[in-house]
């Protein structure tokens, strides 16, 4: 009996191979999309981790020579033997085919874990690391090093441009600095009972950890938003799978009725269909994982890094698919199928034996389920509104996101129906009226695909708005904060004074970094003294400002606060803020301070020196048109150590290139999401086509040509796409707003400004239209070529 039933069920697919293909392909695409987003996330994470590993020595305190460039290796040993857990760094530049490559040498046995690529390599297999002692560099740098150095070069995409990282033994040899070190990295955890630094190594100064964290917090926020994108793509996938399965089941209601009438019990029948679905889900999921693999390999510019991140590739480059990767892809496919099929299977289970086997896709148009759907949608949207006003916390932020998306998706068919009904009312021609009425009739069958399109477009709009806003903010922030070409750390007031005197004729501006921990508005905060000049006036953009802001601050009549302080203390431009041990001044401007956890106020340098005469600036930003020459002069003529000079331009360029990579991939994924939604429409139209003959045949019999009917089908798809797009735009913007202004504030305490990109949205609209037309072409052509005899069969008794 089971075999007979199974062969009957399967015969449906044999008769409708296209439908089988669309179901499996739909599942595969949804899985691939999910995998693709995971890929971007992993890629972004891997890139940032690598960036942190290259740049991350900023997160540790460092010991630098008080004078000159060199720390004798004996000092390192003396420190270790005194209980100071420090890791040696030797640093220098080597000529490599016309370029200068910065070579950094580390010792993986004493360097804090995770710093530099070799700490990982050494932890994994110390002997083979020590046997090979490779040099790590990105592909471009590796090409420059070829033939220049005798050590093997391992390509690591995460390493900053024109930088190579090597074992300390190799670096000392290549730089010809045997026995010399440049600086020492101080581990975070230190043992008990260490003598003070001055008694062990009086020639070294300790430079506190700096930087790093800004970028770190900012990228955390970016990850969070990408995670939200992952959820969105999953929702789109579920809608697509739901549509595919729902329609496939709809068509087999007649067969189920017949099978039951012939004595097949309901339970085993449902079981058979579940098993059948599981097999299809596995097939689709497997295909999807492979597709995702291809997507990852072709989309992500740096295949090696990607594959390492995603698939656990060996360093040698042989490819390995991680079991977890396979399983999560298959899991998504099966879970999505289960969610999507639950409704269809329940429907079959509840169907009375003698119920009409006629497809009811269009018959449900005016039933109570629709009213329930509208009520649910309105409830969810109301809840979203209430959460926006009343809610607090990250979970609430995500709940808000969920309510907004599901509510909008559920409401979509109703909105479209209202719009179409309006069009029907004002339409004058009879064909036009029929067209609108028939489009309305089609809505229930297409609504799932249209919801998928809505979510896909909204996700695209939301995510591209978020990502682009993020990019603008981030680059602006980098320009603002890393405006100086060089940053220099000195170790004494005397050296600082010497530096100021030395640089005065050589730079366009010298900016002392003056700061002190203080309490502002009852909260722990930092007070900064700024030398207000061209750098501040030209590079700093303020979130809000009073007129003539910079002159007032420079004249000591006003101050600036960061967004965190303003939000926490409930202050804004025009309010007064009392400085500890100083005057009370009005706030003339609020600046964005992304990544900084605590409050900050900025006053003019003279005022700062008045309030805190004891604080001297030891770190300086230097503005120069010739940073390289300046750097050389500082090292050679003033005798500053290389480690005390930071080239911010390089950091900036590297940070931006990391972001660019992510943006490229996000854009590509946007196209993919739309393609998947377009596919869903195609599938729905194709499946509906057969069902629609009884609706179209009378219109044909009464005098509309098949060609005209086909044209109308195309126009219908475009109209629906345009209407859906016009719903997706506000939804996408709302989504971006929630991500930037709610989720981000809850997670990190600052709001990312939202920028609008109308051209991008227009482009997206054209893409969506294009996708809809492509999806409708084949069904429309098939309709235009339907033989009259097929149309006539509608009217005949045999049907």
């Amino acid at each position: 009996m089971m075999r007979a039933a199974l062969s009957a069920l399967l015969s449906h697919w044999r008769r409708n191979p296209l439908q089988l293909f669309t179901l499996v392909a739909g599942l595969a695409l949804a899985t691939a999309l999910w995998s693709g987003v995971q890929a971007v996330n992993s890629e972004a994470r891997a890139s940032y981790d690598a960036a942190a590993a290259t740049l991350g020595d900023g997160q540790y305190d460092q010991l630098l020579p008080a004078a000159g460039n060199t720390i004798p290796q004996a000092t390192f040993i003396a420190l270790r033997r005194a209980g100071w857990l420090v890791g040696p760094v030797v640093e220098g530049r080597i000529g490599a085919q016309g370029a200068r490559v910065r070579l950094v040498g580390l010792d993986p046995l004493t360097t804090p874990a995770g710093l530099g690529p070799m700490t990982r390599a050494a932890a994994a297999d110390l002997p083979s690391y020590l046997e090979q002692l490779p040099v790590y560099a990105n592909a471009a740098t590796a090409a420059k090093l070829e033939g220049v150095i005798d050590a093997p070069v391992v390509i690591d995409a995460g390493i900053a441009p024109d930088t190579a990282i090597a074992d300390i033994s190799v670096a000392q040899r290549l730089l010809d600095r045997q026995g010399d070190l440049s600086r020492l990295i101080v581990a975070t955890q230190q043992p008990l009972g260490r003598p003070p630094l001055a008694t062990v190594a009086p020639d070294l100064v300790r430079q506190p950890a700096s930087g790093g964290s800004d970028v770190g917090r900012l990228t955390d926020s970016f990850h969070l938003n990408l995670t939200a994108f992952g959820l969105l793509s999953f929702a789109v996938g579920i809608f697509i799978v739901h549509g595919a399965i729902g329609l496939a089941f709809e068509q087999r209601r007649g067969m189920v009725r017949t099978l039951r009438a012939l004595g097949m019990p309901l339970g085993p029948l449902i079981g058979l269909m579940a098993v059948e679905l599981l097999a299809l889900a596995l097939l689709g999921g497997l295909t999807g994982v492979l597709l995702g693999y291809l997507i990852a390999a072709s989309l992500l510019p740096d295949v090696a890094a990607t594959l390492e991140g995603l698939y656990g590739a060996q360093v040698s480059g042989t490819l390995q698919l991680r079991p977890a990767w396979w399983l999560s892809g298959l899991g998504i496919s099966v879970l999505g199928t289960a969610i999507a099929a639950a409704g269809a299977l329940t429907g079959i289970a509840r169907m009375p034996l003698l119920a009409s086997a006629r497809p009811r896709a269009w018959a449900t148009a005016r039933t109570t389920t629709r009213r329930l759907q509208i009520a649910t949608a309105l409830l969810l949207l109301t809840l979203a509104g209430a959460l926006t006003v009343l809610g607090n916390g990250l979970i609430i932020g995500f709940a808000l996101l969920g309510c907004l998306l599901i509510g909008a998706a559920l409401l979509l068919p109703f909105l479209l129906d209202v719009a179409l009904a309006g069009a029907q009312r004002i339409a004058s021609g009879v064909t036009a009226q029929w067209f609108w009425a028939d489009t309305r009739q089609q809505l229930p069958g297409l609504s799932l695909a249209l919801m998928a399109l809505l979510l896909a477009m909204a996700a695209n709009i939301g995510v591209s708005t978020m990502v682009s806003s993020f990019r603008l903010t981030f680059t602006g922030f980098l320009d603002q904060r890393l405006a100086s070409e060089l940053y220099v750390a000195t170790d004494s007031a005397a050296q600082a004074a010497a530096l100021e005197a030395f640089t005065a004729p050589r730079v366009t501006e010298t900016l002392p970094l003056l700061s002190v921990d203080t309490t502002l508005a009852g909260l722990p905060a930092e007070l900064h003294g700024a030398r207000i000049g061209a750098t501040y006036r030209e590079n700093w953009t303020l979130l809000d400002q009073a007129p003539d802001v910079w002159n007032r601050v420079a004249d000591q009549h006003a101050l600036l606060v960061n967004e965190q302080l303003a939000r926490r203390a409930g202050l804004w431009v025009g309010d007064n803020l009392a400085l500890e041990g100083g005057p009370t001044l009005p706030i003339a401007g609020v600046f964005g301070d992304y990544g900084n956890p605590i409050g900050q106020a900025i006053v003019a340098e003279p005022l700062f020196r008045n309030i805190h005469p004891d604080v001297t600036a030891l770190r300086f930003g230097l503005r120069s048109d010739t940073p390289k020459a300046l750097r050389a002069a500082l090292e050679q003529e003033l005798g500053l150590s290389a480690g005390s000079i930071t080239d911010q331009a390089q950091i900036k360029a590297f940070s931006l290139s990391v972001f660019e990579r992510t943006f490229t991939v996000t854009a590509a994924l946007n196209v993919l999401t739309l393609a998947v939604a377009g596919f869903a429409i195609f599938m729905s139209l194709l499946t509906l086509a057969a069902m629609r003959l009884p609706q179209l045949a009378p219109a044909w019999a009464l005098g509309l040509t098949r060609r005209r009917l086909g044209q109308l089908e195309l126009i219908r798809a475009m109209v629906l796409a345009v209407l859906t797009a016009s719903c997706a735009l506000p939804l996408g913007l709302a989504l971006a707003w929630v991500l930037l202004a709610v989720v981000n504030v809850e997670a990190f305490g600052w709001r990312l400004p939202m920028f609008l990109f109308p051209l991008d949205y227009a482009k997206l609209g054209v893409f969506a239209l294009f996708a809809a037309v492509i999806a409708a072409v084949l069904p429309a052509r098939r309709l235009a070529r339907t033989p009259p005899s097929d149309l006539l069969k509608v009217f005949a008794n045999e049907r």
């Binding site: 009425a437 005098g703 509309l704 008794n797």
Partner: protein, 218 residues
């Protein structure tokens, strides 16, 4: 003559080559005349009706409808002729499910460009559909659906009504009622009627009866 059919043949593709359905049919129909086409299943009576209505194309022969040679018309021309000269009532699925009853009745007349709201309203009332005008086809009984189809066919004031077992899906009492109304209204509008039926009783109510047997008129 409103309709003149000469030496009409039609065959369909079968497993062992073409299967002839019509093997040279001749018939004429005068304006206002009513004609019953009877015959066994497969005798070709529905095919003949479809060919006359321009719903399908013949292999050879001649169909002159309202002075136009059907055989020379393309898809578009046949659609135009269907719109303007012919009203069709099928056994089932006559109606456009997305339109309400009033719109369904008006549909063909408006396509043909001779919609008369008053006349349509009168027709609907005459067929007892006055209370159903804003309902949708799926909310109607089978008899009501067929009445709507008849009203729609007549509303366009065609010269020829083609009906294919119009009451075949209805119970006997309803069928009689619907047929009475149809014949009365056809007579009133002066249209000719060609009806396919296998019921002798129905056929007897037409002015003329033709019996098809294996693709030829007996």
């Amino acid at each position: 003559m409103l309709l003149s059919v000469h030496a009409l043949t039609k065959s369909y593709a079968g497993a062992d080559g073409p299967v002839p359905v019509l093997r040279g049919v001749d018939l004429t129909l005068a304006p206002g005349e009513t004609l019953a086409l009877t015959g066994e299943s497969g005798s070709g009576k529905s095919t003949l009706l479809h060919l006359v209505g321009g719903l399908d194309t013949a292999d050879s022969g001649e169909i002159l409808l309202d002075g136009q040679n059907m055989m020379r018309l393309d898809d578009k021309g046949r659609a135009a002729l269907r719109r303007s000269a012919v009203g069709i009532v099928f056994q089932q699925f006559n109606l456009i499910p997305s339109l309400d009853v009033a719109a369904n009745i008006a549909f063909q007349a408006r396509l043909a460009g001779r919609y008369d709201a008053q006349a349509a309203d009168r027709l609907a009332r005459a067929l007892g559909l006055g209370a159903q005008l804003d309902k949708y086809p799926e909310q109607l009984s089978g008899g009501q659906q067929q009445r709507v189809a008849i009203a729609r066919a007549l509303a366009a004031r065609p010269k020829l009504i083609l009906a294919d077992e119009p009451t075949g899906n209805l119970d006997e009492a309803t069928a009689g009622e619907v047929l009475d109304q149809m014949l009365a209204l056809v007579a009133e509008t002066g249209a000719a009627l060609m009806m396919v039926t296998h019921s002798r009783a129905l056929a007897a109510r037409m002015q003329r009866q033709l019996h098809l047997r294996q693709g030829t008129l007996a």
